[in-house]
């Protein structure tokens, strides 16, 4: 269902590559929540998708354990093959799939907000939406 929503957003926003970027960010964030926030006790994940003419905001909220986002291996540098680790790679994918990423711990909630600015995207053409590094 999430993929269908992302496909529709890509089509409606006319933004090439938006679907795979949203899906990749969603998958990695979801994995992190399951593996870290809810590592001990399972819980719910709230997914919010906000779309306007300028940006798409994907927000994921959980009630699990918090984490230090800045210290979680979230480098902007492409990881070298010999130092690729699953954890750091997931955050790298989120950061590079989206325009900006913020993390907040509010009361007992983790809020991960991932934003894609639509002006960064190439327009959807009749060609495939994959392979455009700008979007």
């Amino acid at each position: 269902m999430v993929r269908a929503v992302c496909l529709r957003v890509e089509r409606d926003a006319g933004c090439a590559g938006l679907e795979w970027r949203l899906m990749s960010a969603y998958n990695e964030a979801f994995n992190n929540i399951v593996e870290h926030a809810y590592a001990v006790t399972p819980g719910e994940v709230e997914v919010v998708l906000l779309v306007d003419d300028e940006e798409v905001v994907l927000r994921m909220i959980d009630h699990g354990a918090g984490f230090d986002f800045d210290d979680a291996g979230a480098s902007d540098q492409v990881p070298a093959l010999d130092s690729l680790s699953e954890g750091g790679m997931g955050l790298f994918i989120i950061r590079n799939a989206m325009s900006s990423v913020t993390y907040e711990r509010r009361q007992d909630k983790n809020l991960l907000t991932m934003t894609k600015t639509l002006s960064e995207c190439a327009a959807v053409s009749s060609a495939t939406s994959h392979g455009d590094p700008r979007c």
Partner: protein, 112 residues
Amino acid sequence: MLKHELTEQAGVVVLRVQEENLDALTVPEARLLVEQLVERGGIKVVFEMTAVKVIDSSGVAIIVSLFKRLRALGGAVRVAGVSGQPKDIFAMLRLDQALPIFPTADEALKGF
């Protein structure tokens, strides 16, 4: 069990993943498969993923792990059939420059 096909052609193992998702749900089973391949020592493997439509960091990690471990044993891995979202993720991580990637398994087998 992870849907896959394992064949051998001219001494090269061809692993065809037949899942649409190579992600956190399917990787635990893929990891068992990788362990079995690594136990065979320095073999050559073509990792064919035409069927894979979506990959995540755990899927990428299993391919990189296979590549590095077999290389350390004197073996080698070639990846084939990468397209769509997996191709975009490979490009983002610059794995398209670090791993030997071929359009098809047949092309990966040539001269391997």
